[in-house]
Structures are given as structure tokens and as C-alpha cells.
Point group: C2
Chain length 207, copies 2
């Protein structure tokens, strides 16, 4: 029998114990597809949105949105030639909303302008994008917008946001609105109950 101190497998450096020397780059698929959208190489469909023109790739849109899939690959699809020759007109949408939608379709993230700027502008953008996401069957974008809108709920916006949540079947956002209203109402009652905010001093003192 080989003595314990001679068993070389116990003394060899195990590769898994060697700290890694390779810094793997972060995922870059989103960036590459964002660049493809910006460059427009091989774009085969054109959209007209309130006077602005956008070029895109039908099969990427179809891969990312169930509605675009039905439009470009389903029974109602147009032929290659006609969809390249005639732009698709997008009604009821602002160009900056469609630009955000396209960015999300390609890069799985919204561009900065969608969430920056004034709070009410960011909230309005999130509402428009939520409507567009619901219209194009983009469940993840819809949830991203819902999550964003939860942070914009206040006494001035809660009614509008609740109506939007009801209309587009956003369960989480509805709950957030109700929770806000219940807490606000409770907080308001606490405030009203304080001595300093007694609007009926005669009644409260029995005078």
C-alpha cells in the first residue's frame, strides 16, 4: 500500500481551486441589437408614426411581440414587397412612445429618456408605453411600466392610474392604487383626528 504522504492526488493543485484569471465580458446581445436598430441594416419594414419614419426588421418584431407575429407571420401577413414598399401607419401613438417601444423590442430595456425628465412626464410616458405594450402583447414591458407607475402614484394621479390599470387588466398596479388610497385615507383620518385640525371644535367639546 502506498503511504499516505505519497498519494500525489492529495498534493496536486486542483484546477477548481485556482482563482479565475479570465474576466468574461457582460452579456452584449441587447447592445448589439440596439446597434442594429440604430443602423437599420437590412430593415424590411417601415412605420409612419405621426409624421416620423421608423425602419425595423419584421422577424425580430415578430419574435418579440405576439401581435407583430400575427401581423407579419400569420394569415393576415402582407407580402415581402408590399410591406417594404408601403409604410405601416401607427395611429394613436406619439413618435417618442413608438421609439421607446422599438428600443424595448430590440434591447429589452427602455432608453433613458423614457424615465428621466420631470416626474409627471416620466409618469405620462410610462402610461403611454403600458398602453402600447398591452396593444402589442409585450407582457414584460407592460410589467416594467406597471412597476414604474407604482412609484408615481400620488393623490393627484391615483384615480387616472387606477382607471388605466382597470382598463388594461394590471392586477399589481390596481392593488398598489388601492393600497395607496387606503393608507392615504387612514393617514388623512389620523390628521383630521388631531386636536390642531379639529374643524368642529364646538361639536368635539360638546359646546
Amino acid at each position: 500500500m502506498i503511504p499516505r504522504e505519497l498519494r500525489t492526488e492529495d498534493r496536486m493543485v486542483h484546477p477548481s481551486r485556482t482563482p479565475t484569471l479570465v474576466a468574461v465580458l457582460p452579456p452584449d446581445l441587447s447592445r448589439h441589437l440596439g446597434d442594429l436598430l440604430a443602423a437599420g441594416h437590412g430593415a424590411d419594414v417601415t412605420f409612419q408614426v405621426a409624421g416620423e419614419t421608423f425602419r425595423a426588421h419584421r422577424y425580430i418584431l415578430a419574435a418579440r411581440s405576439s401581435v407583430f407575429k400575427a401581423q407579419f407571420l400569420g394569415a393576415m401577413r402582407e407580402s415581402n414587397v408590399s410591406s417594404q414598399a408601403y409604410p405601416i401607419r401607427m395611429a394613436d401613438m406619439e413618435p417618442q412612445v413608438f421609439r421607446g417601444l422599438l428600443a424595448f423590442l430590440y434591447a429589452d430595456a427602455l432608453p433613458d429618456y423614457c424615465s428621466s425628465g420631470q416626474e409627471d412626464e416620466a409618469a405620462a410616458m410610462a402610461q403611454h408605453l403600458l398602453v402600447a405594450a398591452d396593444r402589442y402583447g409585450m407582457e414584460r414591458l407592460k410589467l416594467v411600466c406597471e412597476d414604474s407607475l407604482c412609484k408615481h402614484i400620488d393623490t393627484g394621479s391615483v384615480a387616472t392610474i387606477l382607471a388605466l390599470a382597470e382598463q388594461h387588466n394590471c392586477q399589481g398596479l390596481k392593488k398598489a392604487c388601492f393600497r395607496f388610497m387606503i393608507r392615504s385615507s387612514s393617514a388623512l383620518n389620523d390628521v383630521l383626528a388631531t386636536d390642531g385640525f379639529n374643524i368642529y371644535p364646538e361639536a368635539s367639546t360638546g359646546v
Copy 2:
């Protein structure tokens, strides 16, 4: 001045303190593009790899690989018609390696079969994919393969892996090979120095 207890802004529920009620789905761009590759909708280029046929989308390949970009968008590009009509023959590559390469191009991750199976099979696949990644200018895949190969370094493979690292300019992998050899050498010397492994007992005892 309004008394402290009446300032309602201190009592209202701040939206950011409300726990989120919306579970945003994880990113799904990789999955959607993987599905597009599998379905092949709108594929406009065909590859022949050792008798197997693969269909893909030129503009996605071009967005992901500098070499495919030069091939499909550069001065040497073929016309739409010819690249659809005639398959591109891929020399010096096994079909399962090209399948892994395509999967990484579309989904930014390698399929399970590339890292599962016997350890030596996984190491061989990582080596083939590293060569392919270098050939097609895919820096992230190259680093993924380097990182994987660092875990496969052992006394039997270190020479081959070091040669590969040298040939394809993989600095981190080279360092890992040298580190392994230095440590192995040191451990081996320790083993050889033990009394039980004295191969020249006469010399060591002066007999």
C-alpha cells in the same frame, strides 16, 4: 405656522415606501431570439457544415460578429439572391460546434450540451468553440470558453490548452496554465522530497 402634527406630507404614505406589487418578468430577449433561430422564420442565409444544413438571419449574425458583418455588409458581401440560393460551406468545423456558435450568436449563451457530458468532451467542445469564436470575432464567447477551459486544466491537458491559448492570444488562459504548472511542479517537488518517495535511497543516506 402649522403645528408639526398637522403637516400632512409627513403623514402621507410615500409611494416609494410601498412594497412593490408587480413581479417584473426576467429579461426574455435571449429566449425570443433562440426561438427565432429554432423556428427559422425569415431566415435568409444557409450554411452547410459537414453535411448538415443550418438556416439563419444575416443581419443578426452581422450585428453579433465582426467577421459576419464584413461578410454580409462589407465590400465582399454577396447579393441577397445568391446568399439565399447557395449555401455557405463552413470548412474545418463540426456541426455541433457550429450549432453552439449559432446558439451563442442568437441567445448570448451556450446550450447545455456544450458543457455537459464527460469532462474531456466538455473540454474539447470549449476548445473548438474558442477557435470558432476567435475566427468569427466573438470576443465574449472567446472569454466564456477561456474561463471554461481554466477549469479543465490538469496534468494531461495543460500542454494542449497552453498551445491553444498561445495560438489564439488568450492571456488569461495562458496565465492559468502557467500558474497550474508552477503549482503542480512545486507540489510534485514536495512529493519527491518526502522520505517515502526517495528514489535514490543510497545517495540520500550516503551509502
